[in-house]
């Protein structure tokens, strides 16, 4: 607990409500995500967890008919009422999707895509970004001899790690992960999980997962979502060993969901 005092608060979400047209998808969500921590979000399908993670980089704005009230404070800046620079926000808040989605270009071009958009042109600088980010995701040794070959030739797990490297290349503070291992085999999943524990030394990580073992293995805090409400949000160890709410207990012990 005393460690928490020294950790910087990255996301502070207050009374967030979200509607898709008439459908009330998120109800009074309150959460705080700190730097150097992994925040896991669990819950049954349709509980709003994917919707929630997409609000953190405002990718939700691409969905027509979305309305939000409340506050999403990213480093003390409310994403909902100030006119946020989406380009800047998304450079700082990276996102990983369910399935690796590399662009059909070379491995090298995938990684430098973000930096180039944000104005880095120098070849030496780009080369260095490619090397460090690929090392960060433990992919460097596997691909260093074929940086110029297509990313589509990589395996599913490698593609997902490449996408993580691509997100890290813009030097974000936060990495959002929306079920990043749901399409991967157990060995690739393990590698991504090891990677996450490594990454949290430098970043704040928010992960949505269907896999409760995964949440309990890797996360520091866990929030349990149900029907758009946060039922319980606390230390992962406490949520899984000694949940306060009956519904949380039912869910983590597999009685529904």
């Amino acid at each position: 607990m005393q460690a928490a005092a020294t950790k910087e608060s990255i996301f502070q979400v207050n009374d967030l409500n979200l509607w898709y047209d008439d459908y009330h998808a998120l109800k009074d969500v309150n959460l705080e995500a700190l730097n150097n921590e992994i925040y896991a979000i669990i819950g049954p399908s349709g509980c709003g967890k994917s919707t929630f993670i997409k609000t953190l980089n405002l990718m939700i704005n691409t969905v027509p008919g979305v309305r939000m009230t409340g506050e999403i404070n990213y480093k003390e800046k409310n994403l909902l009422d100030s006119r946020v620079d989406l380009v800047d926000l998304r450079r700082n808040v990276g996102m990983i999707f369910q399935k690796g989605n590399p662009f059909p270009q070379s491995i090298y071009d995938n990684i430098v895509y973000g930096p180039k958009i944000h104005g880095i042109k120098k070849k030496s600088e780009l080369d260095e970004i490619v090397e460090t980010t690929l090392k960060d995701v433990a992919l460097w040794d596997e691909v260093k001899d074929r940086l110029k070959s297509s990313a589509m030739g990589l395996s599913g797990g490698q593609q997902q790690r490449l996408c993580i490297a691509r997100a890290l290349a813009t030097k974000p503070d936060v990495v959002l992960m929306d079920e990043p291992t749901s399409a991967l085999d157990p060995i690739s999943t393990l590698k991504i999980e090891e990677l996450m524990t490594e990454l949290k030394k430098k970043y704040c990580i928010v992960i949505v997962t269907h896999n409760m073992q995964q949440a309990s293995r890797i996360s520091d805090k866990t929030a349990f979502f149900l029907h758009g409400h946060v039922v319980e949000a606390t230390e992962t160890s406490k949520l899984f060993s000694n949940p306060e709410d009956k519904r949380t207990e039912d869910y983590i012990s597999g009685r529904f969901g």
Binding site: N57, M59, T62, L86, V87, D88, L89, R90, R91, G94, M95, F97, K99, N101, P102, F103, P104, Q105, Y113, G114, I117, H118, S150, M152, C163, R166, A167, T170
Partner: protein, 309 residues
Amino acid sequence: MAKATVNTSAEDRLILTNKNRRWDEVRGRSLVTICAIIMIAATISVTVFLAQKGLQSFTVNNINPIAYLTSTNWNPVGSGEASYGIFPFIFGSLAVTFLSALVAAPLGIGAAIFMSEISPRFGKKVLQPVIELLVGIPSVVYGFIGLVVLVPLVRDNLPGIGFSLFAGVVVLTVMILPTVTTIATDAMRSLPDSLRQGSMALGATRWQTIRKVLIPAALPSLLTAIVLGMARAFGEALAVQMVIGNSRDIPETIFDTSATLTTIVTLNIGHTTYGSIENNTLWSMGLILLVISFLFIFIVRYLSGRRKV
């Protein structure tokens, strides 16, 4: 309750259905196989027939094939020595094809991007039906409009007599634009949404996403769209014939009259005697058209093989 009244056992029913299904299977399979065989037979017989007829001017009439392809003197029935050089028509065909593709490609791909990325709703409800209507207009109508509207317009405002390579290119551009747009739109729409999201999530704007991710990803299919448009332009005869002027010389400028392989064939095949030298040389032009069309198809096949997503 029903069990008692059904006098066939489960085994009987299984075998019965099996028999029915097998017969059904055989019937269905033969039907589609016959369709496939007819298609293949039609293609092969046209090719063989055209090759046989088209080669006659070289084998029977002893025209030098190289002179035939490269000479610029087309004088089959005129005064003096007859000469069969079709280079001006090959040039005309390729010129209208490439020039119209050059104009139609950016327009068509631009419209495709508008329909798939910028305004899908308007695109689906308004633009797409309009484009499909354009495809359905017969080429004689395009030619007629070209003749009564475009040619006078060119004559009054631009150099030349109105009938020109330029008029042909304009008419063809309008004609192939729907082809290019439709195929390019399909190509853009078939790109997975994850590419768009991946790019946007990295902070790219919509335009950057289109330019740096979507267009490169769809490039082989977009090129296919252009080549198919070119194939259509290359094969079009009637509309071009009505506006291009049909002269036998290589045009010096884009506003000069010209002719294409297809226009010469449609103009002359009716009033030449079957089996005459001139008639045979027209068949040879048909063969050349077929060969170049095959070339377009090979390019399309090659490009589809390179599709990346």
